[in-house]
């Protein structure tokens, strides 16, 4: 219990004094995870929607694979991305290993299946509701996808937030591909792992509370923004 109090106290002082290292790694955490979220959403939202409305022979298999990919162990993703981006790997010439870009790539791979799968679930329901109308109006496939994405944006936001939550709390993959380099690739989660390793539980826990507060703040911010737009209809 004393450790937890010490952690709360450490978090309090870190935030109150606006510790410059804390601000830096917090912003980097946000930068990496939000960028990963944008790219993952650009892939997963249309793909999940497409999967909900398109009938093709291996659809069930594709959905099963997608759901399985949701459980991808981040460490394995990290290792594979590491081997691909290593100077001795196929994409070594780009020199991306141990940069925020590498961390973003790993996170995109981890959260895309999650977002696509939640999107698919939500879009399938909406599609069942809209199906007859959109068919009757002789819509093109593109128009259908755009309509479903627009009208299902609340569910898609939930999917995206789930992806963000997974990304910002992830440590295994970004530790391997980012290297936890101070002032370059250190983020909240890798800093927590580092401080735990040093036995400084109070600081580790303090950073942990900052991470939780950050995730909460982002969720509340996004929900309140969308609520203003939607006039409290949600």
């Amino acid at each position: 219990m004393t450790d937890i109090w010490a952690g709360l106290e450490a978090a309090f002082w870190l935030i109150v004094t606006l510790d410059s290292d804390l601000v830096e790694i917090t912003l980097r955490s946000l930068q990496v995870s939000v960028t990963a979220l944008v790219f993952a959403s650009l892939i997963a939202l249309p793909f999940g929607t497409w999967l909900a409305i398109r009938r093709f022979r291996y659809r069930r298999t594709a959905i099963a694979v997608l759901n399985a990919l949701m459980g991808l162990p981040p460490v394995v993703v990290g290792l594979i991305v590491y081997l691909l981006l290593s100077r001795s790997g196929p994409f070594g010439v780009f020199g991306l290993l141990f940069t925020p870009t590498a961390m973003i790539i790993a996170q995109v791979i981890i959260i895309t299946p999650l977002i696509a799968s939640i999107t698919h679930q939500a879009m399938r329901e909406l599609w069942a509701e809209y199906h007859d109308l959109l068919i009757s109006l002789n819509t093109t496939k593109r128009q259908r996808i755009m309509t479903l994405i627009w009208d299902g944006r609340r569910a898609l936001l939930t999917a995206a937030l789930a992806g963000f939550g997974r990304a910002i709390g992830e440590v295994g993959a970004i530790m391997i591909v980012g290297g936890n380099i101070d002032h370059a690739t250190r983020v909240l989660t890798t800093a927590i792992a580092l401080e735990t390793g040093k036995g400084d539980f109070a600081l580790a826990l303090g950073l942990g509370f900052v991470l939780i507060a950050l995730a909460l703040a982002v969720n509340i911010l996004i929900h309140s923004l969308s609520r203003t737009e939607q006039e409290g209809r949600w």
């Binding site: 909406l126 509701e129 809209y130 007859d132 109308l133 009757s136 109006l137 002789n138 309509t147 009208d151």
Partner: protein, 233 residues
């Protein structure tokens, strides 16, 4: 537009649920499709609209298919509301075909006025009452000024007042040149609206004729029984 179905058959899981049907429909009729439950009314309507595929037989339209589909509209028994405002629901079919924004705005105003929802343009459509929803669905179907309008029991769940409003809108549309093909359970509505009747039984056209004659002197005993309100299979 004229629609002609020749030897049209629809099977589901190997079972024939419609046909074979030979049927020609022409403007400017108001065709009412009558028949007991399970006679295939909705299936026939969907086949004519082109959203239900024929297992065999052919549907011939007097216009090229793509154009014909653009000039048809369909109103479902339980209205499908886009999760948007009334305004956005009305604008949607026009946006799909790339109508200019000022034209859309003007037509939306006009139709909102006609269905009495001018003050509700910014309300969320799924929150309207049943009657309002069906009127909105009808306006949304008519906003492209279609050649042909299909309606599947549009007044099945509505009270008398809403039913009368819908019928007035349909007659107006018909006067403006829209051919109407609808199913109904309501014999009173059929009598008020129809110029042409198709009586379906067991997936086949059992009797066909002008409304004036059909309602007075039906040719088949089953049609007679149906008009008398007897239960027929």
């Amino acid at each position: 537009m004229s629609l002609a179905l020749s030897k049209g058959v629809v099977k589901r899981r190997g079972k024939v649920i419609l046909g074979p049907v030979d049927l020609a429909l022409n403007a400017p009729d108001i065709t009412i499709i009558l028949g007991p439950n399970g006679a295939g009314k909705t299936t026939l309507l969907r086949v004519l609209h082109g959203v239900e595929r024929l297992s065999s037989g052919a549907l011939t339209l007097s216009k090229p298919d793509a154009q014909a589909r653009q000039e048809q509209a369909y109103v479902f028994q339980s209205p499908i509301m886009l999760r948007r405002t009334v305004r956005a629901n009305l604008a949607y079919p026009l946006e799909l075909i790339g109508t200019a924004k000022p034209v859309i705005a003007q037509r939306v105003e006009t139709w909102a006025e006609r269905i009495g929802l001018a003050d509700a343009l910014d309300r969320h459509a799924p929150r309207l009452s049943g009657g309002e929803k069906q009127k909105l669905a009808l306006a949304r179907a008519l906003i492209r000024e279609p050649d042909v309008l299909f309606l599947d029991e549009p007044c099945a769940n509505l009270d008398g007042r809403s039913t009368r409003e819908i019928e007035t809108l349909l007659k107006d549309a018909h006067l403006r040149g829209t051919q109407i093909i609808m199913t109904t359970h309501d014999l009173g509505q059929a009598r008020r609206m129809a110029s042409d009747v198709v009586f379906l039984l067991g997936g086949k056209v059992h009797e066909r004729g002008a409304a004036g004659r059909f309602f007075v002197t039906p040719e088949t005993p089953e049609a007679q029984a149906f008009l008398n309100g007897d239960i027929i299979e």
